[in-house]
């Protein structure tokens, strides 16, 4: 059977980020995949070398807009690892609150986009409207919807006002019923189950070999979470659970993220209610020479930063490794053997954040274009419709 090459990207209108996937298909089955990156490569590691430690925190915030807290958090942890020091309690609580708020908005964003790819535009609109409530909470606490600029080496830059806490708690309580409703609707939907169960399976063995991280790995049964294993912030002092799946298919990835939403709400509530008084900044006077590593659990998995300092106020080397960098190569395992109509949702299931990592089309070997990325999403939605009719839902 002849092979056809299917490129997805780079400027697929429904994906906000440019990337380029080339799928090789035989008939309807995907047999190979290649990814071209670099569409978001902005040379941040080099830029960091000409920024001071304070400035580099702002720079790394703009690596990715969705996980704009995880990079500054890992960066300041790396700087604080240069020498033994203690971050004040109140600062740790505030950092945890911001990090979990980001996790909630990121998972909601993914849920909406997944719904969009599958043809559930109502889910997309509802979930993004709900997401606005969380962004409002973040705006009350930090002053901005995203790019919070809250982190600095030694603590946080701004304090949380006592009078804002009841407002934020009330807002969070108000979204929980809707979240419960969405969770029930999504998890009980027979069409979604038919669409996503058994699709895009990443085996536990493969997840280990590729060193996958985050919900992508946890859905395959690897119960690793940096918040538990290498605790930072106040994660070792409050009550919460790591959510793990079993089969590693797209369904498990969806369920892990939805359940993590509720864990994050639990964490934020405990932190807001138990916020201690005190300093928010350790006021670091000097950065010694040395090496530091900071790794934290971003919504997509472990974000890892390495900083080397020579005693001046600038990093000599700043290595950034985003979670999607480890998760993207797992496409080789999950998309091979899959049906073309499932390609978009399998690729979306790892919650790719290409801007952190530095896009689909179908072409014949002669180079004539058969269909574009738009058509692939349409294929995906048509499959959902077909299943809906079959199941009489």
């Amino acid at each position: 059977m002849s092979k056809t090459i299917v490129p997805i990207g780079p400027y697929h209108p429904l994906q906000e980020e440019p990337e380029f996937f080339t799928l090789t298909v035989e008939g309807e089955e995907v047999v190979d995949i290649d990814v071209r990156l670099g569409y978001n490569h902005r040379g941040i590691e080099k830029l960091s070398e000409s920024r001071s430690f304070d400035q580099t925190v702002f720079l790394v915030e703009r690596i990715c807009g969705i996980c704009s807290t995880s990079h500054p958090y890992a960066c300041v942890r790396a700087v604080e690892d240069l020498f033994p020091m203690d971050v004040p309690e109140r600062a740790r609580y505030i950092r945890t609150i911001i990090a979990e708020g980001e996790r909630i908005h990121s998972h909601l964003l993914w849920l909406g986009l997944a719904g969009h790819f599958l043809g559930y535009n109502t889910v997309y609109m509802w979930v993004w409207k709900l997401r606005e409530e969380i962004l409002d909470c973040m705006e009350i606490l930090t002053g901005n919807r995203n790019n919070y600029a809250m982190f600095k080496p030694g603590g946080v830059r701004r304090d949380v006002r006592a009078e804002d806490i009841p407002t934020v708690l009330r807002k969070i309580d108000s979204i929980v019923p809707t979240l419960e409703m969405i969770k029930a609707a999504v998890l009980d939907d027979p069409v979604l189950q038919a669409r996503l169960k058994g699709v895009g399976i990443l085996s536990r063995q493969a997840a280990v070999e590729y060193s996958a991280v985050g919900p992508t790995a946890r859905a395959s049964g690897i119960g690793k979470d940096v918040r538990k294993d290498c605790a930072y912030g106040v994660y070792d002092r409050i009550d919460w659970n790591v959510v793990t799946g079993r089969n590693g298919d797209v369904w498990d990835k969806l369920v892990v993220r939805v359940l993590e939403l509720f864990e994050s709400i639990k964490i934020i509530r405990q932190c807001l209610e138990g916020l201690p008084s005190g300093e928010i900044d350790a006021r670091i006077a000097d950065y010694p020479a040395g090496e530091g590593i900071g790794h934290i659990e971003a919504p997509r998995g472990e974000t890892f930063h390495y900083i080397r300092s020579d005693g001046t106020n600038r990093p000599v080397r700043h290595k950034v490794r985003a979670p999607t960098y480890m998760n993207l190569p797992t496409f080789k395992e999950t998309v091979k053997g899959a049906n073309l109509a499932d390609a978009t949702i399998i690729l979306a299931a790892i919650d790719p954040c290409y801007c952190c990592t530095e896009r689909m089309a179908v072409r014949t070997p002669e180079g004539r274009k058969l269909m574009g990325g738009y058509d692939l999403v349409r294929l995906s939605r048509e499959k959902t419709e077909r299943l809906r009719k079959e199941l009489g839902a």
Binding site: S211, D229, Y306
Partner: protein, 161 residues
């Protein structure tokens, strides 16, 4: 056996087994261990960490220093909350080391990245083509080296690179 004792055991075993290849063993803090090893030993130590100790490969970070091109391979041992970093120093003129991609696929992409940004040759890597830099980027120009200069005459630069 307590966790601390277990951690001691693991590190001692590591030291004994690969003693010949280890140049420096720095147990910096409960969560950070840095090992400088000879470039020839990188495959066996990494394989031991990944497959025997079941450490997770985080990433590799290369640095261009005046003395050498240094690569640090970072692994996490979750059960101790420990990050072990293996350091190798390579000759600046023609940096080359054995590829870890043959041991585990997790290293494939980062070695491609270090190859294009620093010019390190990874011997035995299955597919050492460009990852991040665009097609029109000239060969042999490695942006993260200290001596990188702007090569594009059409670039608008008011502040240098």
């Amino acid at each position: 056996m307590s966790r601390t004792e277990e951690r001691e055991n693991v590190l001692n075993t590591l030291h004994r087994r690969f003693g010949a290849g280890i140049i420096e063993f720095a147990d910096r803090s409960p969560r950070r261990v840095y090992l400088e090893i000879k470039p020839e030993s990188v495959c066996e130590v990494a394989d031991y960490l990944f497959h025997t100790l079941e450490a997770r490969f985080n990433t590799a970070s290369a640095t261009d220093t005046p003395a050498a091109v240094e690569i640090l391979y970072h692994f996490t041992l979750e059960r101790f909350g420990l990050v072990i970093s293996l350091r190798v120093e390579l000759d600046r003129g023609a940096p080359a080391v054995d590829s870890l991609a043959c041991c585990f696929p997790a290293a494939e992409w980062i070695e491609r990245e270090i190859h294009e940004l620093f010019g390190v040759d990874f011997r035995g890597h299955p597919d050492l083509r460009r990852l991040l830099l665009p097609e029109q980027w000239p060969e042999g120009v490695h942006p993260l080296r200290r001596d990188y200069q702007e090569w594009d005459s059409e670039a608008v630069r008011t502040r240098g690179v």
